[in-house]
């Protein structure tokens, strides 16, 4: 071959890319289902007294801060897929970096 690469060097990054995409999609689905379940709880801390309202305020603040620090799906997921896609299209040597990118993608879906 002209670029000195074997067929394996091309196939492996693509395989990893597909794995990362699957992991990303599963994580996004689970995160989405989790957020829906949490929303379904409503306001279990209560609303009819100052203590309950303060608890609700604390939770919302912490949750929003958490969401801001870990934006998650879809932005991180799409960015990860792009990175993975480039690695998959490229030749060889991308598998290691791609796997690390997958971790960032999966970690970003919260």
């Amino acid at each position: 071959m002209g670029d000195g690469l074997r067929a394996d060097d091309r196939v492996r990054p693509r395989r990893v890319a597909r794995g990362v995409a699957t992991t990303c999609a599963e994580a996004a689905a689970r995160a989405s289902a989790f957020h829906e379940r949490m929303a379904a709880y409503g306001t279990p801390w209560g609303v009819n007294n100052p203590v309950s309202r303060a608890l609700g305020l604390c939770y919302r603040t912490a949750r929003d801060e958490h969401a801001a620090r870990h934006p998650g799906h879809p932005a991180a997921c799409l960015a990860g897929r792009e990175t993975v896609g480039r690695a998959g299209d490229g030749a060889g040597g991308g598998a290691r970096g791609t796997a690390g990118g997958g971790a960032a993608v999966a970690g970003g879906v919260r």
Partner: protein, 146 residues
């Protein structure tokens, strides 16, 4: 099942004008547990994506902290309900004692006098109960927000 207001104390709730908490501590514990489970599931996904690479699961740790916070909230809701029930019971006892003390002064006349005394003192009993409950709420809210 979360701690509910006993039916016998419902009139005291109306008398004091300080409502019993509508929080559900059991739902808060379940929410906390779900945060733990979600953090564990996301950690598995992250481990799969990392393909054996070492990684730091900051988001998962924060999710677990959120879950822990929800469980602490459940304890606070339960404690608040307990204090409220105690104050309701103390108020009921104070009202009963006010009437009984007046009624024990003697005979039918004493009973009538006792009823009048109870009616006179009821606003003070109400105010004392309200102030006690308000103080608990104020201290708790200050602790939570500072």
């Amino acid at each position: 099942m979360s701690l509910e207001l006993p039916a016998a104390l419902a009139p005291i709730e109306v008398f004091l004008g300080r409502v019993y908490s509508d929080g559900d501590e059991e739902a808060l514990v379940r929410m906390g547990d779900e945060h733990d489970e979600h953090a564990a599931a996301m950690r598995e996904h992250q481990a799969a994506g990392a393909a054996g690479e070492p990684h730091h699961d900051a988001a998962g740790s924060e999710t677990r902290v959120l879950g822990l916070g929800l469980k602490v909230s459940a304890s606070i809701v339960l404690a608040h309900k307990g204090v409220t029930l105690l104050q309701y019971a103390l108020t009921a006892a104070a009202l009963a004692e006010t009437v009984a003390t007046g009624g024990a002064t003697g005979g039918a006349t004493g009973g009538a006098t006792g009823g009048a005394t109870g009616a006179t003192l009821a606003p003070f009993v109400r105010q004392a109960g309200q102030q006690a409950l308000d103080a608990v709420a104020t201290v708790t809210v200050n602790e939570l927000l500072t």
